[in-house]
Assembly symmetry: C2
Homo-oligomer: 337 residues x 2
Amino acid sequence: MATIEDVAKLAGLSKTTVSRVINNQPYVSEEKKQLVLEAMKQLGYVPNSSARSLRNQKTEIIAVIIPRVMNPFFGQFVESLEIVASQYHYQLIVCQTLYSAKKELDYLNLLKTKQVDGVIMTTLLNGWEAVEPFLEYGPIILCNEFDEQANVPMIHMDQNYGGYVATKHLIDQGYNKIAFCCGNVNSNVSRAREEGFRKALREAGLYLPEQYIFRNVFTFEDGKNVLRKMMEMVEAPTAVFTGSDEVAAGMISESKRLGVRVPEELAVVGFDNQAITELMEPMITTVNQPVKEMGHLAMEVMMEKIKTRRYKEREVHLLPLTLIVRDSSKLANYNVY
Amino acid sequence: MATIEDVAKLAGLSKTTVSRVINNQPYVSEEKKQLVLEAMKQLGYVPNSSARSLRNQKTEIIAVIIPRVMNPFFGQFVESLEIVASQYHYQLIVCQTLYSAKKELDYLNLLKTKQVDGVIMTTLLNGWEAVEPFLEYGPIILCNEFDEQANVPMIHMDQNYGGYVATKHLIDQGYNKIAFCCGNVNSNVSRAREEGFRKALREAGLYLPEQYIFRNVFTFEDGKNVLRKMMEMVEAPTAVFTGSDEVAAGMISESKRLGVRVPEELAVVGFDNQAITELMEPMITTVNQPVKEMGHLAMEVMMEKIKTRRYKEREVHLLPLTLIVRDSSKLANYNVY
């Protein structure tokens, strides 16, 4: 493999001059520049980005940390980040933690070791105090997940409202034995949704038995399992806030197998408004999260922070959630669509 | 931010010695090593990976290039790569091309600029002649996609058989007007499936009208659109090989809306055996691709190639495909499950 020395030799110029051309620095005549470029081409020489980034400190790569590529919510988010990143000629690399706090720190290290220019985090598996020191090395944006202490840009949705509006809808339909599912227990997203859920129950004077609460529920399979557990109860719930379209789809599928009618015997509400909500039968009532908008905004904010280099300031962007009522929870006019 | 000079000064040692400690090189006494580490700790000095990788040339990062994070086939693949990478203390970064050939080359550049130790490619949007030069900089493994010219390890499935066995099944059920969908037209995967599809028709003496062929069909929405087009034909197909579970699900959903009965009026066969095939009603007949096994094997092969540094050799690993018959194509005993 050709080295910088080989290029200098062939071009008949000093290593310093070659290096200047590679790093796009001033004070090199156009003639010398051409000689260097020609020599590089002849020798097939490729400047090592490690050497280059030692100088200009830019990688033009953004990392996004998500829990699972398989979750379509994060899949859509990543796709929308990618589109904006391309417009700025940035590359996006996707890092998945599979909910491991250690992996989250390992990927944050890409910032510390200057392999990326910025990091977008969608979960916070470590405490903020563990993440904050990485801000020394570049911008971090919190997206979807949020934290009271975090002194960075945050883009998220009003999850409390999401939990509330979906539960209120169930209560308005006449359901009064309502179960609750959530994913990651340490997440502020889960916590806020649960608060909204409990607020709606409280307003209606409804009681929430401990056994109606299911945590760490993420996948189709988890949905099937929870449904079986609910149906084994002496007093089974008649409605469920699942916190996830995947979980809701798993429950509806398992309901069919067990002969439980949705929504007559069990109303099911999802979360995210994924494509699957319109493919299932009955179609799934859900809470729409503006995930594309979140992705666009996150990347725009990142680009601005890289440019201005002022990113250690708390800055909150709140995006709206909307309830979408479909047949999985519509008692009155079920089958009318 | 502390520099290597600061560390040398505080430790009372030369920069060369500090550098030796950082890069884990020999000929440094344990005593000096401790002095350096202590100084680094006091100053909060972090060795720049760019500087480090100039020497040891290892990043312990593997990149995987996939078309879309949103496609659950690639999502599962990435998850299974991640699990094996972790066991080897490697990080995995995911790069999505959204089917852009330019992006594919941009991401391959991560290898050239030594930001990753190896690349796993799942599609080949450029000709092999455009990819091959990158082999100068590290191992590339072709996974899922394959190429006759490629002189690298390849792990893929017998897609010709997949196309054949699914179509043969439709013919055996009595269907004789069978449409064909595929995704990326330039892919050898699509080409091989089409060959298998045509082989089955040929053996049965069936004719394939040009209008029964749909290319560049990827998503739920695409499935819905193709279904509408098929149903508008004077002589509509009575069965369809979709090449994708997502497309199949979209078609079944749209069939319901239009009152087309599956499988009585239209048999639908998917591809991949994704979770959605068991959630839809009717459940979807599909071809199982051993995607987890492919992921495991790909990462194991990558680790071996990084270790042995011998990777410019053609090496083919073929994994089996299996037809899974469900209700979306079962005429005789429909509803028996």
